[in-house]
Each structure stands twice: as C-alpha cells, then as structure tokens.
Symmetry: C3
Subunit: 333 residues, 3 copies
C-alpha cells in the first residue's frame, strides 16, 4: 500500500478547505499557528472554572460520527466517543475486524458505504502511517477525517491536548523550555508534539534518548539532542515522557527495561534537576518502573490525569470547529 | 428446529395486525401492494431534495430497538442502528455469541428476557431460514420484528431499498424491464426482490444464471429464465446483480471465479447490451472481478452507493410505520 | 490481590456519604432499612399502572455511566445500559478484555483514566469477591460505583428487584414466608437476598439445599436450614430458586443434574406443597430441568419475567437516587 505513505505530500494543504479553514485534522505538521490557537481557545471554552470539561453542547446534533479503529485502543476510542456524545452527535463504533473488509471488501468500498450511510465525520486509527491521509483523499466533499493515530506518523489530538495542558498549567508555550524523553524515532505522539511546539514558538526544545531510539538525523526537527538525560531535563519547565513500546524492549534496540529505566527513566532524583515547578506529562498508558517511576507518575508535579480530561475538551473542540466550517460551506453555497 | 421452516405458512397474515396494518416486516412475499407503496412513500419523505436521507425525526423517541444479529453483518447492522438513532430511539446491539444462549439458554428464553426489558422492536438476522418468523410468532403483542435477513429465505428491507432505487432513478416499477443475475437459488435478496417486483407490477422480469445456481423450477417465481447472460440483459432498464458467496466458489457448484465472470460477470461490453440509460444495482459487498467488473461498479450507470443511502431511508420508513401502527392500537384500546 | 477481600470491612459505612445517604451501591448487607425502602419506592415510581416500567426521565441528562464488565453478562449489562439510557445518560460499555489492562496497565490506572474522562458512575461486574468495594475505595469523591455482581459476594440490584417483586406480587415483606433453594454457599444472589430480606423484616426465612451447597455454618445468616425440599417449601409464600452453576455439576459437589433435580428441582408436585398463591422466582438464566421444571418456569405462579422488568425499574431507581445525592453534595458545597 505504497500510496498510503504521506512523506512527500503537502500535508497542510490537504487539511484545509479552499478558504483556509480546517476540514480534516490529520497532523499538526504544517498547520498555521492561528488554527492551532483556535483549537486551544475552543477547547478552553468547554472547560469550567474547576478545570473539568463538562459542558454538554448541541453543536453536533443530527450529525453522525463514525469511529473507524483498525488498531485497537479502548482508551482513545472512549475519549472520541465521549467527546462526540457530549456534542450530541450520533456515534457509531465500527468493529473493523468483523466488518466486510474481512470478507474481502476493500478499505475504500467500506469507506464509500459508510459515506453513503451519511456519516459526517470519520475518526480513524490505523497501524499504517498515512492511513488517515489516504482516507481523507478519498472521501466525499462533505465528510471530514480526524486522525486518531496512524502508524509512526501522527497523533494530532494527543499533541493538542498536550499543548492545552502546558498552556493551562504553565502559561504561554513560547515561555517554556520543554524536554521530550524516550522513543522519539518510533513515536507518532512525539512527531505531532514537536510540530505543534515549534509552530507555537516553544522557547527551547530538547529531545532526549539513546541513539537507537533517537538518531542524530532527528535534529532536523529543530530540537537539540541529548543522550544524557540529566543534562536533557536540567532546568526545563515541562518534561514530556513517551511510552516505551514493549516490542522495542523485546527487540535488539534496548538491553532491558531495568537498564532503560536506569538511563532514561524519570525518577524523583532526576525530576529534581528540572525546574522546581516543572510539570510531568505522559500520553498513557504508562509503564510504571520502565519509563517513569510510580512515585513520579502519581506525584504532585504529574499532570497525567489532567491531560486525559483536557483530551476530551480538545476532541470536542476539533469536532465542533470542523463541523462549523462544513456548515458555513453549506450555507454559502 | 423444524418449527422454524416457514414454507407452509400464510406469511402475509403473520405480518399484519387484525386491521390489516404492518406489524412485523418479515418478507415482501404476500404483502399487499398498498403496504409496499406506503413504505416507498414514507421513505421518500425522509429524503431531501439532494437525494440525501438526513432528516432526523423524533418518531421513535422513548422506544427501544434491539438488534439481534445471530449472523455477522457490520454493514446491515450499521444501517439499522443509524436508522433507529435518526428516529431518536434508544438502540441496543445484543452480542449474541457472548450472551446467555452460549450458556445454554434457549433462543426463546433470551427473547422473553429482552421483551421483559421492554424493548419495542427486534431487528433479527439469522443464518437459518424462518428464524424471524419463528421469533415473530413468540413475541408479546406489543413487540414488532423486522427481518434483516434469514438464511436463504428473505431480506425484505434490502428488496424495498432496491424498489425505491428503481423508482427514483428510473420511474414507476410497472414500466421497467428488470434482470436479476447470479446465484438466485441461494439468495434471500433475490427472493425478496422477486416478490416485491411482482407485487409492484414489474413490466418484465428475467432471471439470469447457470443451472446450478438457478434451477428450472425457479420459473415458478414468475420470471423468464435465461442461461445466456447476453440474451438475459438485452434491452433491460435495470440490471440487479447478486453477490456470489465465496462458499459457492469453493464448492462443486462453480468451476472458478474467472470462469464465472466470463459467463455471468457484468463487464462493460455486456452492460452495453442493456438500454443505454439502464442502471446497475448490487446489494453489496461486491466481489470486484467476480460478478461485476470494477469499472462497471464504479461507472456512471452504477447506483450501488445510492442504494445504501436509500437503505437508510427505507429502514427509517419501516420502523416508523410499524411504531405508528402499534401506537394507534394502544390509543384505541 | 488480597486487598480486594471485603470480609472484614464495615460495608455499610463505605456505601454511605457523611450525611448517611447512598453514594455507592455495593451490597445489601448492613444498609439501613430506610435506604432499601427508598430504592423500592423510587423504583415503583418508574412503573406504570400496567406494571410496565416505561417512563423515560431526564434525571441523568449530561451524566456519563460507564459499564465495566470484567465478567461477561450480556443480560445484566443490557439492563444497566437500558436503565441508564431511559434516564437520558450517555452510556459507555468498556470492553475490558481489549482495553489497556491487557497491555499491562493496572486496574487502578484504567479506573483513574476513565474518571479523568469525567464518567460519573461505574457499573462494575467482576469475578472476584470484593472488586466493587476495592474500586469504590479508590475513585474520586464525585464518582459512584454500582456493584453488578462480584464473585460469590454480592449482587445487590438483583436482590432489590427480588424485593420489589415480592412486595408488588405478594405484599409487605414482613408478612412473607420465603424459601431460598439451591446453591446458597456459592451464590452472590442468595447472600444479597438474605441480607435484604432480614433487613426488611421477613416473617420467616428458610434456606434449602444439600450439605455440599449449604453448609450448616450458613445458619448464621439467620434462616433455618432444610435438607428436605418438601419440608423446606411447605406452606411458603415465596419460592426463590437459584441458578445451579454448571461447574458445580461437573465437579465433585453434585452427583448429576438428574439426581439434583430429583432432590432439589422445583417440579409441579413440589410447588403444590407451597401456599396455593405462592410465587416462583429465579434470577435467570434458568436451567430447565435442572433446578426448575419448564412447566413451573412458564406456569401461572412464575413471576420470572416480571422480575426482569422490575430489574429495569430498580436499576433506574438506584442510579437516580445516587445521582440526586451527589448533586445535593455539589449544591451545598
């Protein structure tokens, strides 16, 4: 499926409509700053004074959101399902493994059928990089795609909830020194975080990890590379830990999870090197004792569970912005 | 389960209430023309001027629709789920394989329990012919059954969406020459289509297929039998292709899918034998290159995806007619 | 997971908030009579004059109920899902076996994440005794737990629907002579029934079963033990049969299902020993011919299906009482 590889494609262009407004949300890469900011502002509007995103809104009433999860993720599926329901949409969870694709129907036939059933939005998660882009290229004009994670490529709503967390817990992004620690080479989360941080003008960006998980070539992303974690998190305001995939531990890339923790795990001692009021983030699910100590994950500087709540607000924001834009198109035609 | 065989039963009577109104929708067989017409008219009312069935209606508010799919079909399940949600019903998808029937509870006990939970309507799909009739015979007075496909017997909502498609794309059924092509002997879709077409007064009906999939005895249905596909579709207004089940190809009935396509596949050359403005229909999912060429399935005469959209409208129509009838009963008692 | 065993814990205290109102519903054990009575009264309010619990209410609008079923039970899941939807809640069914717990995330991490997604209520079913209590101890202040069955420990909504059934079909609990028959030792249903019956002042309670399924020590519960079923149900007003788990029949505890039926099955002859207007109850799913004869299960004294309908009303009652209490807390803070 070589057509699905997005590497050479002008990504920003494909996410925006002809008026420059968000139509699909596939990647943070290449999106203009004002669109990222509007997502953050809209998300903040769903959050109440107690930092709890509870406001139910009828913004997607009569719309149908279909969750197409080709890769299993109960947690991410649940937040998208909840976000759509809080916006009063009808929600379909399509069980791909028992669907017609198993009967030999192609992905595009499945897609065209769901489209003919008048779904308005597809939330897509797929193990292959570029899958959401591929689908976005082939849907009808009125339909929008939200990428809920594709291979090693992008996970843009995760990145935006991370931006919202930094903004609300630490202040403007352009005043923050941020370290991303771990398996950056294989992480769609890291890629989307880096693009969002750069676009929002992060003050300093450090990428921390061993050579096997963070080759020198990734300096092209625009951060400084640090092999020594103590040095990497020294004085930062935000520590963004990545989940270490178990398959990396089983493979040749890493000696053992204990040795990984010794070098790149976030222990209380290491965290003490960051600014005293630094926050600790993690996209979850966490591997306790592998990339992060339990006491840090559950500690006072951790905002890991707050990220989950903000994730609900960010997904509501993206959905309502996209639907608002598509309705404007309908109204002016 | 011999009691489930519906062959000898007066089917029409069992679908209608004592006032002659639709209570269950089990089969197109034996239903009077005015009921089929009312389904088509009601469905048309859900479709807007752009041919898109989007109107959300509160007609099933407070009602519960339970989808009982003993046979897997994500696509059909999804359209029923969507139809019920657009009518504002509460929808339950009962996962039969993990339910109490696996613990040795009988189908009837499962059914009686769901009924006691106050479900108003069951949408039933089952591999065994007659299953929906069997269930309809055993439910309480206030509950309605919609057959979403039972064995080789009937798939009435599929047939009615096909009728709606013909009517909207070609005009009155009684002015159309129609060919049904493929595995007619084993197809519940074909059986339901034939009954609906005859009742609605189709101008000419041709049944096309090899002897193994279309025995001479099927001439009793009322169509003319054609072994030669070129002859069968010559000059028709509507070509209704059937899905070839893969198990037929594996079995002794067919030599190979390539040979099947050579004789009964709908190629562009063959389609040229039909009327120039003939439409091509297929219930999906399609086997590209087996019963239909990709270029025909995706071509300008194909209305295959339009059928899916109309399917949503037809299912909404059947559900709202049945609920309307049951409410009238309640009101007059 | 020794922390999950609830045996030594002051259960009542953990279900009530500081004002003595129901916060979690984990067990009927130790709950004051007025709380059990308020559940019955509230449930009765959802039932109409035809004994059908159909009233849809907006009491949980904007609330999210998450069903966490670690142990499979389509039937119980369905009633909780329906109850929540009739109260206008958003409902999530979390598929635990495909969730992050399978990826090595702990139960508590999963729980904290769902909590961060702003679920208001968890309905928990788990094979291990004490699971619901364990979870209740670890959730945030605003969140409530309903136990939908934990190991051999408790199934309180089942017990309360049984109380409602007795009350509506036979009158006040304190005027009834009740026999519970079967595998009492291994039954969470029986334990919850016994506690509810005692608190509501049952006139007489008899426990009936063989020594392997009803050791003498269970006399501590407060009922009289009967090895002879004829003696046990003689003159009672209510016969509560228990489901015999198939694993008991396979094991050493029972000789065969036929022999079990001969000694402890409810046949028409045996039922004739009870009061002529005695009712027959069973939590379902029933094993026909094992613990109960088909003719009795389907007979005129059986209220088994009525129990299912009342179960919907009881679950709506528990959910709305708990949410009402939590809202009062919010308002007064």
């Amino acid at each position: 499926m070589t057509a699905m590889h997005p590497a050479s494609l002008p990504i920003a262009a494909r996410q925006l409509d002809s008026a420059g407004r968000l139509r699909h949300f596939l990647s943070t890469e290449g999106l203009p700053k004002d669109i990222l900011t509007s997502i953050l502002d809209t998300a903040a509007g769903f959050i109440d004074e107690n930092d709890v995103a509870i406001k139910k809104a009828p913004l997607l009433r009569g719309k149908t959101v279909a969750n197409l999860f080709f890769e299993n993720s109960t947690r991410t599926l649940t937040t998208f399902e909840l976000a759509a329901k809080r916006l009063s949409a009808d929600v379909l969870n399509i069980n791909i493994r028992t669907s017609s694709t198993a009967k030999g129907e192609s992905l595009l036939d499945t897609l065209h059928n769901l489209q003919a059933m008048l779904c308005d939005m597809f939330v897509v998660r797929h193990a292959e990089s570029g899958a959401a882009h591929f689908i976005a290229e082939h849907v009808a004009p009125g339909i929008s795609i939200i990428n809920a994670g594709d291979g090693r490529h992008a996970h843009p709503t995760q990145a935006m909830l991370d931006m919202l967390t930094i903004q609300r817990k630490k202040g403007p992004i352009d005043q923050q020194r941020v370290a991303i620690v771990g398996d950056i080479a294989h992480s769609r989360v890291a890629r989307s975080q880096i693009h969002a941080l750069k676009t929002l003008g992060v003050k300093e960006l450090r990428l921390v990890g061993p050579k096997t998980l963070l080759p020198d070539s990734l300096a092209d992303f625009g951060g400084t590379i640090h092999r020594d974690m103590n040095e990497g998190i020294d004085g930062v305001d935000v520590v963004m830990m990545l989940r270490l995939q178990r398959e990396r531990m089983a493979g040749a890339l890493l000696p053992s999870s204990a040795e990984y923790f010794a070098h790149y795990g976030l222990s209380p001692t290491r965290l003490a090197l960051a600014n005293p009021d630094a926050i600790v983030m993690h996209p979850g699910p966490i591997n306790r004792g592998v990339e992060i100590a339990s006491s840090v994950a559950d500690g006072s500087q951790s905002v890991i569970l707050q990220q989950v709540t903000y994730g609900l607000a960010v997904r509501m924001a993206v959905m309502s912005i996209i639907v608002g834009n598509s309705q404007n198109v309908e109204n002016t035609q």
